[in-house]
Symmetry: C2
């Protein structure tokens, strides 16, 4: 609906892997915007907008995938102000926003913009009810929704109506709010457990984000560790993670891991992070820093999204 | 999976409207192949293959949408022979093949090719169980299925798993074969009713296909009738049809209607075709042929897929 091949799309770097794959499929020019613990950096976005036309901004402002970080309030205000001034549509991907375990809810970009920017807000039942249902929703202006409906009709005619009706019935008869509150209690405990386990089990030099919600946290490893080799060693110990490289538009500056904390009970998280910490310590001990650094540098160019 | 922008795709003309829209969205060069009452004409396909590379052949060999016609046996054999020789993948769209009311089942292109051509066979539960489920299937070579799975993952991750499980359970506990036999009895009667009603109610100069199955028949009207105006007049009489123009890759040589016979009981079909015949007779009487011909010629260029 919004993009032609070659159009420039601004995305957080790192960003949701599947979104990067979709953009690649449509042959657009993905322009990475640096991020920190407060989400996408507005100075970097402003520099990109000054460089030339940007046709779309894509981001997950709340509990980002893969980092778990959240776009700070003043950046939200700045982002919609910039998007409005440059007339760039913003796709606000918000699958995790309801899963908050700490801190206060922030306004969505859609509400912060108050109509000044064209914000397309996306959410889903995948993280609160069941991913297998494949039902989500979009909030956008009337003309945008009509254009998206035409594109969707051409893709799959429509989403399964039986499931949509079942969901509508569920929303009438099931207390989704209470269910989300239960999820938040369970996932929040698991998140805190993982943060504590990382502190106890991970070696010096590793650092990680401290999410206030969502499903993931993001861990930076000492330079020189090959996340691919580490994954093989971890899987041999029956613990897995997602290597960070594919979440970047190019080769990342450091080795990263995405860790999921929502899926397993606290005891398993303690145990798993303990095993991962030992595997990581062995990897660091096995090779002096100079040597593993060259291994990492050699391994990286082979990664392609 | 198969096409880049500008690649040439051979399609029956007329062809399934939504397929044409998908091809247009991917910016391929849709090359129309003439058809008659026995489906796609193999002399026309051979001429297209001789003109230059064709990257895909798309057709609905059995009870085609919109015409209701079926590709003759000798053409099926010829098509897979040509496709194999020129190494062109064939997409065999078969949503209606199980809905046969007369004549004998013909081999699918997939089975006729016996592995000589790359045939991607597509079917669906939409016409036998429920279109709202949005579940279908594909039969193709292993490498093709793997490539299609990657493309589907990038589009929507996967089809609703709850519905797939419900369908799998239904196929174990429900006699789908008996259900399709019931559909064939009901739809076959409706098809025969419509053919009889057309004979009685449509004016001289109209002609139509005589399908052996499927959901649609295709009616050619006397030249000069504007199907858009006819539709407005018909809807005022509470009867509707689908104008033929959008099923063509360009402006059609004659005005056409697509008529659905499966959806309404015989009495309603008799009544509806009677009303449509009267509206058509009035349209023909209201304007001398020369005048309506110019109206039709003027109206056509405005249609775009």
């Amino acid at each position: 609906v919004l993009l032609n091949p070659g159009d420039r799309v601004a995305v957080e770097n790192p960003s949701y892997l599947a979104a990067l794959q979709v953009f690649q499929g449509y042959e657009v020019d993905v322009h990475p915007i640096a991020s920190d613990d407060d989400g996408m950096r507005m100075d970097a976005l402003e520099a990109a907008l000054a460089q030339g036309p940007v046709r779309m901004i894509y981001l997950t402002p709340t509990f980002q995938n893969p980092k778990g970080t959240t776009l700070a309030l003043e950046r939200r205000q700045r982002l919609v102000e910039l998007a409005g001034r440059h007339q760039v549509p913003v796709v606000e991907d918000d699958p995790y926003g309801e899963l908050r375990y700490a801190g206060s809810r922030l306004p969505t970009l859609a509400s912060a913009s108050a109509g000044n920017a064209e914000v397309i807000f996306l959410s889903t039942f995948s993280k609160t009810l069941a991913p297998g249902l494949r039902v989500g929703w979009a909030v956008a202006s009337g003309p945008m929704i009509r254009a998206m409906a035409v594109a969707k009709q051409s893709t799959d005619l429509h989403t399964n109506t039986l499931t949509q009706r079942a969901l509508a019935q569920l929303l009438r008869t099931f207390d989704l709010k209470a269910h989300v509150a239960r999820l938040c209690a369970v996932y929040g405990e698991r998140c805190r457990t993982m943060l504590g386990a990382l502190q106890r089990s991970f070696p010096q030099g590793a650092q990680w984000t401290r999410p206030q919600g969502g499903l993931f946290l993001w861990c930076q490893l000492p330079d020189g560790v090959s996340t691919e080799r580490l994954l093989a060693a971890a899987v041999a110990q029956k613990v897995a993670f997602v290597p960070g490289d594919p979440f970047f538009t190019g080769a990342p500056a450091h080795p990263y891991l995405r860790l999921n904390f929502s899926n397993r009970p606290p005891e398993a998280i303690e145990d798993g992070i303990g095993r991962l910490g030992r595997v990581l310590a062995q990897a660091l001990a096995a090779a002096p820093v100079g040597q593993v650094e060259s291994v990492h540098a050699r391994a990286r160019p082979a990664r392609r999204l």
